[in-house]
């Protein structure tokens, strides 16, 4: 255990002083926060416009009740979640890959493995460092996002909203760790460092971009901007009646989407943040029941990636594939 902590500590110190990694993390943080800042500013403007309108009505002596605009502060995280989903996972791949290739490239593996280490200590140290790094980064990011919602958007957050943000953050941490660990495993299993990176990027391309895109393309409601059914002025009950004739097609589309860990992450976080309309303003129990499978698949992906990283980065495997 001591050697695992020693390895994790070294890894975190090394990463903290690595300018390239600092720039990557800063870029990701700025991108995500900026998207929330822009959405929060827009949110604030809409609220201000509504109040100005009310004031103008009152000044003109009009006492008509004007309904408040339907604005939900957590939905302002949509852009940020999408950046974490795509750019965050890409950076997670680079991080996991570089954790192994820098050891292989420097030749420090021999120095480490000539010490009395447990079989899984090396991989354990790297995994622990990744878990701590992503937990700290995402927690910090969500704290800044929450502050942005409160200070820039003047968003009226309540107790339940903080819990939803925390759940979205927990899903984000798990999602990013999965990508880093998969890249770490692939970098450990390949002799040429470039091969590991290419394999990880191909996997990223398929899971993050291609599969979700296929699912979106197959969604009939995505065929026309604004939605097919909305443009045909078909209400929800009739939409369901129409779609009941296409259950096989819908099941296939759903299965394709479910095969992507990115889609599992997106479905869960969009539900908790109310971005997915059917879960907006719903109690947590309802959302939990509706997204339990997504969370479970995400956890299965996490368990799989931890196992892959542990088994791939043992002394025997990694030294056999060292240059």
């Amino acid at each position: 255990m001591t050697e695992t902590l020693t390895l994790a500590h070294k890894e975190l110190t090394d990463l903290r002083r690595n300018r390239f990694m600092v720039v990557l993390f800063a870029f990701l943080a700025v991108t995500v926060v900026l998207s929330v800042v822009v959405a929060s500013a827009d949110f604030r403007l809409k609220i201000a416009d509504y109040h100005h309108y009310l004031d103008a009505l009152a000044a003109s002596g009009n006492a008509a009740a004007v309904p408040a605009p339907q604005l939900f502060p957590l939905q302002m995280l949509r852009g940020g979640i999408e950046y974490l989903e795509i750019i965050g996972s890409l950076f997670a791949v680079v991080l996991g890959y570089s954790m192994i290739t820098k050891e292989k490239g420097r030749g420090t593996l021999q120095l480490i493995f000539s010490r009395p280490l447990g079989r899984y200590a090396f991989a354990g140290g790297k995994i622990l460092a990744l878990v701590l790094l992503w937990t700290a980064t995402v927690t910090g990011l969500f704290i800044v996002i929450t502050a942005t919602l409160l200070l820039v958007g003047n968003a009226p957050l309540q107790g339940g909203d903080y819990l939803r943000l925390a759940l979205a953050a927990a899903h984000t941490i798990a999602y990013l760790i999965i990508w880093s660990l998969l890249a770490m495993a692939l970098a450990s299993l390949t002799r040429r460092t470039g091969t590991g990176l290419i394999l990880a990027l191909v996997l990223w391309l398929i899971v993050v971009l291609i599969i979700p895109q296929i699912g979106d393309t197959m969604d009939p409601d995505n065929q026309i901007p604004g939605g097919l059914f909305a443009s045909l002025q078909v209400d929800a009950s009739h939409e369901q009646a129409v779609m009941a004739h296409f259950t096989g097609y819908e099941t296939t589309r759903d299965l394709i989407e479910q095969s992507s860990v990115t889609k599992q992450y997106e479905r869960a976080t969009f539900a908790y943040l109310g971005i997915k309309t059917e879960y907006n303003q719903q109690p947590l129990g309802f959302i939990w029941a509706g997204t339990f499978n997504n969370t479970l698949w995400l956890l299965a992906g996490l368990a799989l990636s931890v196992s892959a990283a542990l088994l791939a980065a043992t002394k025997k495997t990694i030294l056999r594939k060292a240059p």
Binding site: K10, R17, Q110, L111, F113, R115
Partner: protein, 245 residues
């Protein structure tokens, strides 16, 4: 009777159909500076990789400091230090941080005091908080020695320790290797190409040719046994040529 620091029995390593090491039987007494000579590809680095437990043998056994490399590999690792050829470090970490990392991995109980001793022994005082990325080749090699001895091992493996060093660096490293042996009592096993260095540094030698140990004796006995040859280089070439014919 002298203790044996390193002993191997029929140690063999095969890579597929290629026999890198052929039934090596070798014994190095404690307190020796043993120089292993051989042409490129003779199997010198393979031996070091096997004895430092970085690689598993195809067959045969080896015992370091009384511990079998196959059945007591962690005890072997506790009793050895290893300096690979072209040693590299974590350049974003300082020398002291690098040494602390390796000391902790080796299970050193009071690493701070031990690191101070090692830094003083290797003349690094005042440089401990400099990042490794700023070190010259010669300083890196000395830092390599520092990481290899930070846990006070009884046997030290050095793979081409003078590779790439300038003459001053070679001389400085030679002094250090001799001091490690005489002052700290470490048994040293080194691979090298530089035969002149072997004469100045080693107490005994072995010659490896295509994975087979073809000669082993003390340096003094070797020089006496070949009166017709002027230097160790001539003797080495003579023995190698005899093996080939």
């Amino acid at each position: 009777m002298t203790d044996t620091a390193i002993s191997t029995t029929a140690l063999t390593k095969r890579y597929g159909s290629h026999q890198a090491l052929n039934e090596l039987t070798l014994s190095v007494p404690s307190g020796e500076i043993f120089g292993l000579l051989g042409h490129n590809g003779a199997g010198k680095t393979t031996i070091v990789n096997l004895l430092t437990t970085l690689m598993e043998p195809s067959s045969g056994t080896a015992v370091i400091g009384g511990h079998d490399i196959a059945t007591a590999s962690n005890q072997v690792r506790r009793s050895i230090g290893y300096l690979p050829e072209n040693v590299q470090f974590y350049d974003n970490l300082t020398l002291a941080e690098n040494l602390l990392f390796f000391a902790r991995l080796s299970g050193v109980r009071a690493p701070g005091a031990r690191i101070r001793d090692v830094l003083e022994f290797l003349d690094f005082t005042g440089r401990e908080n400099h990042r490794m990325g700023t070190f010259s080749k010669g300083m890196r090699q000395r830092a390599g020695i520092a990481q290899a001895i930070v846990h006070n091992p009884s046997v030290l493996f050095l793979d081409e320790p003078t590779s790439g060093l300038d003459p001053q660096g070679v001389a400085r490293l030679r002094e250090i290797i001799i001091a490690l042996n005489t002052d700290l009592g470490m048994t040293i096993f080194m691979n090298t190409h530089l035969l002149a260095e072997v004469t100045k540094t080693c107490t005994s030698i072995g010659i490896l040719s295509s994975g087979t140990l073809i000669y082993q004796d003390s340096v003094a006995a070797t020089l006496d046994s070949f009166p017709g040859q002027e230097s160790l280089e001539d003797i080495y070439l003579h023995i190698e040529a005899g093996q080939r014919s």
